[in-house]
Amino acid sequence: MSSYFRKNYVLLITLSVIAALFVAAAQGMEKKDFVITLLRGLSVGSLTFLVASGFSLIFGLLDVLNLAHGTLFMIGAYIGWTVFVRPDTFVDLLTPLALILSGFALGDVYPLLATRIRLGLSVKRILPWALVLVSILIFGFILPRYPISIWDVENYGQSPVTYSFMADQGTRLLAPVAAFTEISAPLALIGLLLASIIGAFGLSLFNSVTQQQFKLNWKNYAGFAILLLVALLTFIFNESLTASLTGLSSNWLFVIAVLVATLSGAGLGALIESTLIRPLYIRPIYQLMLTLGMSAIGIEIVRAIWGRPEFVMPKPVFFNGSGGVCPATNFADWWANNCSTILLLDGRVRVYNEIFIPIVGLVVLISIWMLLQRTRLGMVIRAGVQDREMVEALGINVRRVFTMVFALGVGLAALGGILAAPSMGLSNAMGESLFLNALIALAIGGLTNYPGAALGSVLVGLIQQFIIKYGQIGIAIPFTDIIFKPTPPLVPASTVLLMVIILLILPNGLLGKKE
């Protein structure tokens, strides 16, 4: 025991200083302020954690600094918003998206196909480019003509801002159903399918690594078949699906939005890893530039589709009740009226922002912990973080695990995004600030340490919220009459300073292991 103290005294002293600061901060304010600030801190900490944990898993196992992680957080928010506020658009998109992806689901088949084709060397060189070009041309022809009922960023009356506002007022506006006019439906569907297969085949030809020859079985076609089925079903039952989604209570719609955002994030992550990141494992610096570029592209795509103005996503009714006995003072009242706020020690606490989000954060924290500690995948991840080669030499396909971890990480970020949307609102910049938070949290907690990510995130959230609060009520400087009010710039500066100090004392962060 005493050897533990001797080894870790720096950490223990640092932690006690932080705890002491925390107690001092608590002493300086009223109870109700303290409760609210604490919960807000945990809320920001939870969102930070969702971004930080994914980033850290990816960095730990793949050694990839995914600088686009904040952007992917933002994309999650916008995707979720679309499902929640415009289910009709969402349903319209399902068919073409499933078709576009279907070709990529045949990934295992192409290498075999490629070995069957015997061509001259020069043709072989041009073929991938030609295929990709053809695919892009077909997409370029069909996609602009494919009817999707959508908003219009140029026109305020039909912009996301308006739709969002109307949804908050309880009327869900829908645009008129878009119909196939410029192009016939079968042509569009078959064209998309073909373009996808051609494009995916072309891309697979760029990757010249010889693979083990194996027999194809039904599993290699399953993904393709499912996507095709989804595309067909959503096409045929488009209207009834839209009607049933719009008919749902906003609670269920919110659940669906969260699921869709998370899964799309995961899918996007898998796609990015397997197409863009994979060729660059041998050139780490270039991954940095790649993810930077992706980040810039992602922000522009969001701007082009959803526009620049900020808007707020409405909360599901479960968290949006008012009037009557609200703010609730006990659980029964809250449950009966779904009050948006409750009174806790006289402080008005917003249920969604300050209670629901931290709970989700906690649930995710525990689930991922269980995944890491209790499953074979988790075991492989923990081993791979330390020594990838050895894991591979045991006969484990680490690359496949890479893809899964990237998907998991981006999925977590997207989940964070959709959770944040009703509390932070949606803006082009929402990813950036949270990403900086996450980086700081990881530096504080330990870059590739899972509990460290949680500890760092909570610390960052708490410090920011306490400083904001003290900015409002001021700090009475002892023995003087001066009341010091920290100004807003001090909020980011304080966490950054904490990071620098902690890194100077403990270069690997609080819980990071020594190399």
Binding site: T210, Q386, D387, E392
Partner: protein, 234 residues
């Protein structure tokens, strides 16, 4: 003779360095074959090239009659090759039990092999719950070998098992390896010539990235000149 592994004239690069410049290794089935040579000669790189961690740029690696040099590591390993690397590479964040479980290739491997492994290394049994780092050097080496035994491997590549171990433990290790060679073929890299000569039936000497001499261990033991020239031992 039937060869389970036939390495033909491989050339391996690490970065721009041409490390292996023509290595041939033939391993008869059921034998123990020692790779000998000075420090930095390329023995470790040879093992890594066989299992695809540093894939050779030229030459062939034929395992059980199939060319494997173009395959990915995990595919090669899955064909039944167990790798016990230099410095053991025990996973620090995993418990001893997890270090074994992770090597399962088919579900249930670990449960099936458990008894066999404990018979071989009784020490491991009481260490199961400890983390990988809490072990002594000898225990780590046993764990590393045990890890290669969990899956059904026909060929074991063992890199310097005696390195840094006390004589008593080396004895134990040698016994274990001898026992293992009853069921599987072993390629052994060994600096300690005494250990190698007691264990192995065949040898290949590697010098500056080339295989320079091979044959049966008995002959080498009498070939003082070669021992002196390539191994620097008396």
């Amino acid at each position: 003779m039937e060869y389970i592994l036939d390495v033909q004239n491989i050339h391996t690069f690490i970065g721009q360095y041409h490390i292996l410049q023509g290595v041939d290794v033939r391993v008869p089935k059921g034998s123990i074959t020692a790779l000998l040579g000075r420090n930095g000669a390329g023995k470790t790189t040879t093992l890594k090239s066989i299992i695809g961690l540093t894939p050779p740029r030229e030459g062939k690696v034929i395992y059980e009659g199939k060319e494997v040099q173009d395959m990915r590591s995990f595919d090669i390993a899955s064909k039944g090759i167990g790798f016990v690397p230099e410095h053991r590479a025990i996973f620090r964040d995993l418990t001893v039990e997890e270090n074994l479980k992770i090597a399962e290739r088919v579900k249930g491997d670990y449960l099936r092999k458990k008894e066999f492994i404990f018979d071989l290394f009784p020490d491991l049994k009481r260490l199961m719950a400890l983390s990988g780092t809490a072990l002594s050097g000898g225990q780590q080496q046993m764990l590393a070998i045990a890890r290669a035994l969990v899956a059904d491997n026909h060929l074991l590549l063992i890199d310097e098992p005696s390195e840094g171990l006390a004589p008593v433990i080396i004895e134990h290790m040698m016994k274990a390896i001898r026992l293992l060679s009853k069921d599987s073929t072993i390629v052994l890299v060994e600096q300690n010539f005494l250990v190698a000569s007691q264990l192995a039936e065949y040898y290949v000497i590697i010098e500056e990235g080339r295989s320079v001499q091979a044959g049966s261990m008995k002959d080498l033991a009498n070939d003082k000149a070669a021992i002196h020239r390539y191994l620097g031992a008396a």
